[in-house]
Amino acid sequence: MNPLTYARARDAAEAVRFAGARDATYLGGGTNLVDLLREGVERPAALVDVTGLPATITKRRNGGLLIGAAVRNTALAEDRDVRTRYPVLARAILAGASAQIRNMATVGGNILQRTRCAYFYDIDGSRCNKRTPGQGCDAIGGFNRTHAILGASSACVATHPSDMCAALAALDAVVHLEGAAGARTLPLTELHRLPGDHPEVETLLEPGELITAVELPPLASGARSAYRKVRDRASYAFALVSVAAVLEVKNGRVKDVRLALGGVAHKPWRAREAENALRGGPATARAFRAAAEAELDAATALHDNGFKIELANRTITAVLAELAGRK
């Protein structure tokens, strides 16, 4: 880890001001960043600790929730409104990492966590376009069982590892930002980028821009939501494929559906093809499977990860069928 300075910001304005320093980066719970610092993947000169920023969850007048970026993952999953009204989010968080890490990790940090691609981490021994633009990608011809099947490029096949973000994507969450140029909002589904030719650019954040909050719009009273994570051991492993779904069925037909996938792409993957195929149609297992296949039609497999396509198909189908069958 390079020598660096540390400052604790009291509020967002101070954080943004601190972050104006050269090579500064925001530090949340540290569960990803400290690891990346130690590995030498991240080499900032200054850390701006933003865990002292507001960590509150407040109800909006429209029935939605505004979640401070410094809210810890555990606190978010524990919140009674989240548990009862947005179970997909509570489930996704509880499926992630370990209890200790959830106690440390912040909402903002979770959103900005970086890929677990082994070649990205191996700064001495492997090539990675995300780490060193133009260097090449050793994952494409290497171990890529956990890598992307959707939206990847010839430059990068990494995935975004967050469980929480898949749920936020399905919930149409909106991210509140603050930077030197002022405040703005972005839909979570637009915050992260696909790799294209520039996998080193992972989000639309401006330099020094800070996530201050995440807003959840209200859910229709008839909507049911669920999260299912498929992984290599029973707990404490990243998703091979995960599915976050919000489904509203009326009279046997899909009134509304929102579907997002984790573990399959460079960003939390909102499955709009599948949603379009389902909306207004019958809520049957056959229709769910057809919608899944419509979404995965664009999927491409690397050497090791072809199974993820069928796994995603099956998991989407099962999650939707389970939701449709719920009272």
Partner: protein
Amino acid sequence: MKNVAIRINGSAVAPPADPRVSLLDFLRETLHLHGTKKGCNQGACGACTVLVDGERIVSCLALAVQYVGRDIVTIEGLAGQDGPHRLQQAFIEHDGFQCGYCTPGQICSAVGMAAEARRGLPSHVTDDLSARRIALTRDELRERMSGNLCRCGAHNGIIAAIAETYARAAE
């Protein structure tokens, strides 16, 4: 001293000057509190688990300077004046360890876990997210303790010790 020191097992300690120092290394190398173990330094094994204001964290991914003003309890601080914590005794009785290296982390983690369960925090295997009371079944304990790896394979003894200590009270 509250805002410039870290409280560790009840004593106020000045944080390290170098912000790179993890809470884990601060405990082990500066304070010589070696009970907190370094297994992976990657946040992947849980051997370094300590309690911060009663909540369990992995101290390897915690920069010590971030914990100024917080109250840290390590395995060394768990036993009371009158002897070991009852969970420590249960680990001995149920043979909840072999080599003993993951043990302090397992024990600290279980103490934090019990507090989480008492206040009704659900887990990945909890059926009813809205339930206000958590029944600490074996699977609940296993899921909640899954952030603590054991390579010797003392899992059954660990869970039995925790169940004896906490499960009945919570149910």
